[in-house]
Point group: none
Chain length 399, copies 2
């Protein structure tokens, strides 16, 4: 049996004054039908009450315990941006920022448009510092990836992005050793040289504040890990828009499909994603479908927007995919309550449905109804084990 | 309070087209009554979604974490066959096979009758190879146990049973070290010499294919482990027919009772087992009762047979034992869905009933009803802790 695993980012929420969450308020007949046919429960992707990051949660969803496999955010973003990494490469998340008198006055350089960002990137895209090849690649808007390739580099360093306005950060080793010191040195030298180069690039700024610096964070060393095919004997594909999610998928060996209109934001083309997922199911055992917009609306504190995107996912995506002969799994990577506008440690609702799945008494898919579900509370990498078992691909322990 | 722990092997199943499992379709008023009086839940003997073997699952049921205590299948089978083991002994599961031109043409030598097997075993029962005493003992039909006793033997070796038809396997060390190499050498020499000896035993074959080889698998080194009495301060007894289950019971220090008619198969005498368990309860705190036939019917894909044996267990065994003043625990070691004809990672239904046990809302004992039970999802060795607590034999942590 094949599996479709739909992750609605930040799906879980908290009840408002009327006792409703965006999910419970939404009209979503297809998800409710799946819940009615199969089993429901709750899912905590890291541990109960712990707030998952987007990277660690997805590793755990795919059965890769983040405590063993998490390479840091940088390499995952780099992979998601389509950059080929080699073992030992050090990658950072990086972005254009505005600096004045040594202080960051805008961490996103006025959310620089992608076209401008692309032009500016040419000034700093490749350099060689202390024998290390340094590459900067812009991605979406002000964002990009910074890559160090060379011998003797460590990943345990602080970034130059202080995460708040104020003095530009200076990278420091976070653990002893010449390797970490070297990485920090190269990053600090790159930061200075990039500021000089960008100063001369003023004519292409196109932003109300100068895009005159590159700040970096999330250092990580890339290493090859066993693929899902190696570990589970299944072929897997990813249908998603956001770079991070594609990066995690690539890291664990999924085929990352490029879907026109899958933008990783609120305007994503859900119909195109449904078609791509259905097509992927023909030659893959496990199809991961990621929808980011639920999380975006949560971060904006937009209850109505989150409710509506859930309704659209139900109408355009779930309705089509539930016709497939496959185990259908729907959950979130974490909760992002609209009220908090940030990730939380509350579990997300979970459903597993399909032919041969035992049926519980739950017939609605939301945070409250799922509490009575037969799956009880699933935690961490345990979800992958349960999905593999429903696919009849689980391993036996003992004889 | 004493405890009766009834394990119906491979009990859990998946719903058929009508939404029924053998257990939910069965008429089993006594189990339902126990469920109604006590608490229900689900049990995964290894971990959720993971497929348990028969050996590892029973170790965990008795609270012996298989990751620490699993000695391999060989020693457990040997103990179950009534063989006295000494620490350091290497034991294998072994059986007669038919070999032609170096290739296995029948892994069971036509399911050799036990009487013939007994005669043939005399030809190969004892030898001395490289200073190691090698013993072969037949058990049921084509099956037997191979035992190496001597100094400097390791257990990390592959067997000679390739598990498929084709070339006879050659044992190889699976880890470095002279000890493993020695065991592999002795096994390979035994295999050759046994073939020679069996060639001269043609007149007693009594099978349509020649029983001219012995193949071995499941190597393990025996070590003494603390008994249940040592660990929990309870006396325990086993009422079961299958050699493996008796072996695990003996390994953890239970008194293994010989019950006439407890055959470990579909013809087992359930009434005799009920009488034996009731008698054992007089001088034991914990009585483990094992019924294998549920699993056998599952492996045959026989829904009706599994349903009927559950009904018989209810009528002949549960009805009698529920009269005893004891905590009554009923579950499976794993699921063996009739449709899959093999073990699966789905949880099994679980009930714990008896005087003083809290009561939940579940009043039926099956895979679906138990999802709503007060025990939620019990995993691994956790079941033993819960049972010990109901027996008022649990340990305090702290003061």
């Amino acid at each position: 049996m094949k599996a479709i695993v739909l992750i609605m980012d930040g799906l879980g929420d908290l009840p408002n004054a009327k006792g409703q969450t965006p999910l419970s308020a939404a009209s979503k007949p297809n998800m409710d039908e799946l819940a009615g046919q199969g089993q429901a429960g709750l899912y905590s992707s890291i541990a109960r009450g712990v707030i998952p990051g987007s990277d660690t949660s997805h590793l755990n969803i795919f059965g890769y315990d983040y405590r063993e496999y998490y390479p840091g955010r940088g390499p995952l973003e780099a992979l998601g941006a389509g950059i080929e990494l080699k073992p030992g490469d050090i990658a950072f998340r990086a972005n254009f920022a505005s600096v004045k008198g040594g202080k960051i006055i805008d961490r996103r350089a006025g959310r620089l448009p992608t076209a401008t960002s692309r032009k500016l990137a040419r000034y700093v895209e490749k350099s060689r510092i202390d024998g290390v090849t340094v590459q900067f690649m812009n991605t979406v808007e002000h964002r990009g990836v910074l890559l160090f390739r060379g011998k003797g580099l460590g990943a345990e360093v602080s970034g130059t992005d202080p995460h708040v306005l104020g003095p530009l950060g200076v990278s420091k080793p976070l653990a002893p050793g010449a390797k970490n010191k070297k990485t920090a040195d190269v990053l600090n030298k790159f930061t200075k040289s990039a500021m000089k180069k960008l100063e001369g690039a003023g004519e292409t700024r196109g932003s109300r504040v100068p895009a005159n610096a590159i700040i970096a964070r999330g250092a990580g060393a890339y290493a090859v890990v066993p693929s899902m095919e190696d570990r589970y004997r299944i072929s897997a594909a990813c249908v998603g828009g956001g770079a991070l999610y594609k990066g995690v998928a690539k890291y664990v060996g999924m085929d990352v499909l490029e879907v026109e209109g899958a933008t990783g934001d609120k305007k994503t083309n859900l119909k195109a994603k449904a078609d791509a997922a259905a097509a992927a199911l023909k030659d893959h055992d496990y199809v991961f479908v990621h929808v980011k917009a639920t999380d975006n609306f949560s971060h904006d504190g937009n209850f109505g927007g989150k409710k509506e995107i859930i309704e659209k996912v139900d109408e355009l995506l779930v309705s089509k995919l539930m016709e497939e002969e496959a185990v259908f799994v729907i959950t979130g990577d974490h909760s992002t309550p609209v009220e908090r506008r940030s990730h939380s440690g509350h579990p997300t609702p979970l459903l597993i449905s399909g032919r041969g799945v035992r049926k519980d008494t739950v017939s609605r898919f939301d945070e409250m109804a799922c509490m009575s579900g037969g799956l009880c509370h699933v935690v961490g990498t345990g979800l992958m084990d349960i999905v593999l078992n429903e696919m009849n691909k689980a391993k036996m322990i003992g004889t």
